[in-house]
């Protein structure tokens, strides 16, 4: 845990991590953002919090009317 480590050990750990991350492959934002946007737009068509939930399909909407007693 970082709490038990000396300052120099923490620095060594951070350095090891930075060495790994330098070679992370990075794609252009123009491409990756466009992909996120397109994915989201396609999924929005079925996102019930955007399209709204019809009353008859909404398990949280209280039912209208009373009950029938026979």
């Amino acid at each position: 845990m970082a709490r038990d480590m000396s300052d120099i050990d923490i620095l060594k750990m951070e350095l090891e991590q930075l060495k790994k991350e330098v070679s992370t492959p990075r794609e252009p934002v123009s491409k990756t953002s466009k992909d996120i946007m397109e994915w989201c737009e396609a999924a929005s068509a079925t996102d019930l919090l955007i399209t709204g939930v019809p009353d008859d399909k909404n398990p949280y909407k209280p039912e209208k009317g009373g009950c029938i007693i026979t």
Binding site: M1, A2, R3, D7, I8, I10, L11, K12, M13, E14, L15, Q17, L18, K19, K20, E21, V22, T24, P25, R26, E27, P28, V29, S30, T32, S33, K34, D35, I36, M37, W39, C40, E41, A42, A43, S44, T46, D47, L48, L49, I50, V53, N58, P59, Y60, K61
Partner: protein, 338 residues
């Protein structure tokens, strides 16, 4: 101390290299890319149900994979499992320690986990004849801030001891320890494909981890205070973080950097919790100022507010079917909106 200085210089050099590499691919912004997208409709969600039963602050909630049940944890010392369709409490599980900070339910619905200032994660089988403690996972050296089940046999935890951990529930032992954060780990979220998870910490960074080999693959910087909440974008290619610095950020995993920010000069309350609608278009963010703001994740505009709680919104969750959003608060109530 010569060695410290040399190491520090080397680290600064690498950080500069990484920033340069990020800048090199930063050829546009998400805002520009999304400028042609139609604005999200002004979101009018109504409070459909209020779940009453807890007697003190609610600290955590988690929907069941069945989209109907939910577990909530409160510092009244109880976990409550709700049938959200009827509003009934199905189980009440007393906790040994009332200082609970989080709870979660396994995808099977058989197990729930909770933990907090006791530094332990207690796993309970709720489907046994009467709810029975299965395991007390006891190796973290700091508080348990978050947990998520991968299955009935594996559980991920995040801790104030700065590590996250993967536990084997059959043996009760740690399988993998994720070490790299230098501040308390406050939250975690599992990727849709369950190969990676992301953690947010008090060192202001979010880190992406390989679940199996324990390695930290990417580190996301930019926040200037504790990251309290984190969620995967449903596409699996981005992550949303919420912080005490009053902002949320979208980090793009493939560009390895922040591509959108959600902030408002008028907002000076920290973000406590985050959840996304099923398409990712709407971000529900709970703040210290008792409200929940709804952000358009693409255009970075505020499109709605959920107001109704009388105290901090501490936790939020959207079920897998996206049929609603639930907010949990220090006012002891859970509210379901759609």
């Amino acid at each position: 101390m010569g060695e410290m200085d040399t190491l520090k210089k080397e680290a600064d050099g690498l950080k500069a290299q990484i920033e340069a590499a990020r800048k090199a691919v930063n050829d546009t912004t998400m805002a520009a890319v999304a400028s042609g997208v139609a604005a999200a409709p002004r979101v009018q969600l109504k409070n459909r149900k209020t779940l009453k039963g807890h007697l003190a602050k609610i600290y955590g909630l988690h929907w069941s994979a069945d989209n109907r049940h939910m577990v909530s944890a409160s510092q009244d010392g109880k976990l409550l499992i709700w049938d959200t369709y009827t509003g009934n409490k199905v189980y009440a599980i007393p906790l040994k320690s009332s200082w609970v900070m989080s709870c979660s339910m396994a995808p099977s619905g058989n197990l729930v986990a909770s933990g907090g200032l006791d530094n332990m994660c207690t796993v309970v089988n709720i489907k046994a004849a009467s709810p029975k403690t299965l395991r007390e996972l006891d190796a973290h050296e700091g508080y348990l801030s978050h947990s998520r089940f991968l299955s009935d046999t594996e559980l991920l935890t995040a801790s104030g001891d700065t590590t996250c951990c993967l536990w084997d529930l059959e043996t009760g032992k740690q399988k993998v320890i994720y070490k790299s954060h230098v501040g308390d780990c406050m939250c975690l979220a599992v990727s849709p494909d369950q190969n990676t998870f992301i953690s947010g910490a008090c060192d202001s960074t979010a880190k992406l981890w390989d679940i199996r080999d324990g390695g930290c693959k990417q580190t996301f910087i930019g926040h200037t205070s504790d990251i309290n909440a984190i969620a995967f974008y449903p596409s699996g290619t981005a992550v949303i973080t919420g912080s005490d610095d009053c902002t949320l950020k979208m980090y793009d995993l493939r560009a390895d950097q922040e591509v959108n920010g959600y902030q408002d000069a008028a907002l000076n309350a920290g973000v406590t919790s985050v959840s996304l609608s099923s398409s990712g278009r709407l971000i529900f963010a709970g703040y210290d100022n008792f409200n929940c703001n709804i952000w358009d994740s693409l255009k970075a505009e505020k499109v709605g507010v959920l107001s109704g709680h009388d105290n901090r919104v501490s936790c939020i969750g959207v079920p897998d079917d996206g049929l609603g959003v639930c907010t949990g608060s220090w006012d002891s109530f859970l509210k379901i909106w759609n």
